[in-house]
Symmetry: C2
Subunit: 312 residues, 2 copies
């Protein structure tokens, strides 16, 4: 299977992000969790112009992001009405302004994988080209100040700290690559220089399947290790060049790699895990932090669209 996947990866850069010969034979493809289908919706008309897909955990945050994007691109709705395209389901939300799609992904690898599978199929059915996908999220910082924005260099697993993602397919473990687009990460870092109000760094990101024991917290319902065990692990994490921990980056990166989509992960650190476990900063402070990756990514998208317009 690894060999087969390797061959398909060479298609990276091609317009077709889907790698599934079975899709062609299907009369209809209903994207169940986003409540859109090839029979029920005209997907090329609705989504054919999409160039940026931004994914974030929280539905409220992704609504705020589309409002920010509308302002940045001068495409505000005078009534400030941005309809949720997935209104028929409560699993995810989706908003669109011009070439930008803003989609929630819930929490954790499986929730991200479900919506990303369906988004990749959506881009395929809508015949989109040259699309960039960016995860905009929150994370626990490792040795960085709260409020720091981390652009992921590599999304790494919590055991070996290598850029890999393990997935069970047909009862067998398959290991996939999670390398992210280094050019895109550098462009985002360059773009961050205009924001003097917060610091942006590039570093590795550990992706875990659990928030409490999986991220070495002492404040879960269960904890069978000592504070020293925790600190020893977090120090190892830091020594591996890791700046933050979150719960979606490896599957996101592996699916970017397989599809050929250009992808980046931009997360703010809500706390520095070397100093504690609880996220207990005041609400306004956390709101300000969560806004930072949005500001950076909105500015990046605006610049890209301006550059493209000049060349056309």
């Amino acid at each position: 299977m690894a060999q087969k996947e390797g061959k398909q990866n060479q298609q990276r850069g091609s317009a077709d992000y889907v790698k599934n010969p079975h899709l062609e034979g299907m009369k209809e493809d209903f994207l169940y969790h986003i409540n859109l289908g090839t029979k029920t919706n005209n997907l090329p008309e609705m989504f054919g112009d999409v160039k940026f897909v931004c994914l974030g955990g929280s539905s409220n945050r992704m609504k705020a992001f589309i409002e920010l994007i509308a302002g940045e691109l001068g495409m505000e709705d005078p009534k400030s009405e941005y309809p949720n395209i997935c209104e028929g389901t409560d699993r995810y939300v989706m908003y669109k302004v011009g070439p930008v799609l803003s989609v929630s992904h819930g929490m954790g690898i499986p929730s991200m994988a479900i919506v990303f599978h369906e988004i990749i199929k959506l881009l395929h059915h809508a015949r989109c080209k040259d699309v960039t996908v960016i995860r905009i999220g929150t994370s626990g910082g490792i040795g960085v100040e709260p409020g720091t924005v981390v652009v992921s260099k590599e999304a790494v697993d919590p055991i070996t700290f290598k850029p890999t993602f393990e997935q069970v397919i047909l009862g067998k473990m398959v290991v996939r690559n999670t390398k992210l687009d280094s050019g895109l990460a550098e462009e985002l870092l360059e773009c961050s220089k205009e924001f003097s109000q917060f610091k942006t760094v590039i570093g590795n990101t550990v992706c875990t399947l659990d928030f409490y024991e999986g991220q070495a917290r002492l404040d879960g319902a269960f904890c069978y290790y000592t504070e020293k065990d925790k600190m020893d692990y977090l120090k190892k994490v830091k020594e591996a060049g890791v700046c933050n921990m979150e719960m979606e980056s490896t599957v996101f990166a592996s699916m970017c790699e397989l599809s050929g989509l250009r992808g980046a992960v931009v997360c703010v650190a809500l706390l520095n895990r070397l100093n504690g476990d609880q996220i207990d900063s005041p609400h306004e402070v956390l709101e300000d932090y969560q806004h930072r990756p949005q500001l950076l990514v909105a500015s990046y998208i605006k610049k890209q669209l301006q550059t493209k317009a000049k060349h056309n």
Copy 2:
């Protein structure tokens, strides 16, 4: 670590569901993802009477469930207002009527684990006793008719089909037991006999980390196997006594086991995976299916409370 965990498991049945010595030393415990805290809320007053916690993926469904429970227990709000107790966050929703808590868990193991850690801590802080937790969900059936309700005998992994759950803690793989309460499953099956409009069965449940490739679907964005490979795997699954596949049961069962909470998983099959991959039944049919586990669990809770009232 396995040995330590084994010892703590013997506390099963005791009132304290939390197994974490570090919690005692904390001045405040803020349950971030459900937006409740020991300093900001009087948790014993708000939740001290809770005897049943029902968890389901979708927020709309868990709102519908609390309305159903209110009707069953004769505790309807004349204005039909059931406030979302977690209103300050969009991560999860929580409703309460009498001794019943209805909580959403999102999709996938990590999302379930986050809210369940915080619910177990909530029960601890509120000094709750004799609590039963039930996951009410949807699933893909394996060899059962669409609409069948499956009460899980065991929650099993997708490789060995054994009742185990693997979790990375401090960079090491820890294997946990996922046995569910067989008495509770039998009681639920007994209770199902009053519902002639749908079939209820007891069987094993495979829990996966992915909906598409992880459940051998042919309709994901990626698929590197043939229809024959898929069917060979699903047949193996069936031969292992499995009646359905979903995405939360193993972590739920392992956390029941560790905490000593009595737990059950009751999921309706939205389709028979031996006949296809897409969930494309009409909306009304799916709505009816999703209502079935709710009807069963609401009836069970009502009976339990009636029996208890008689004995008091």
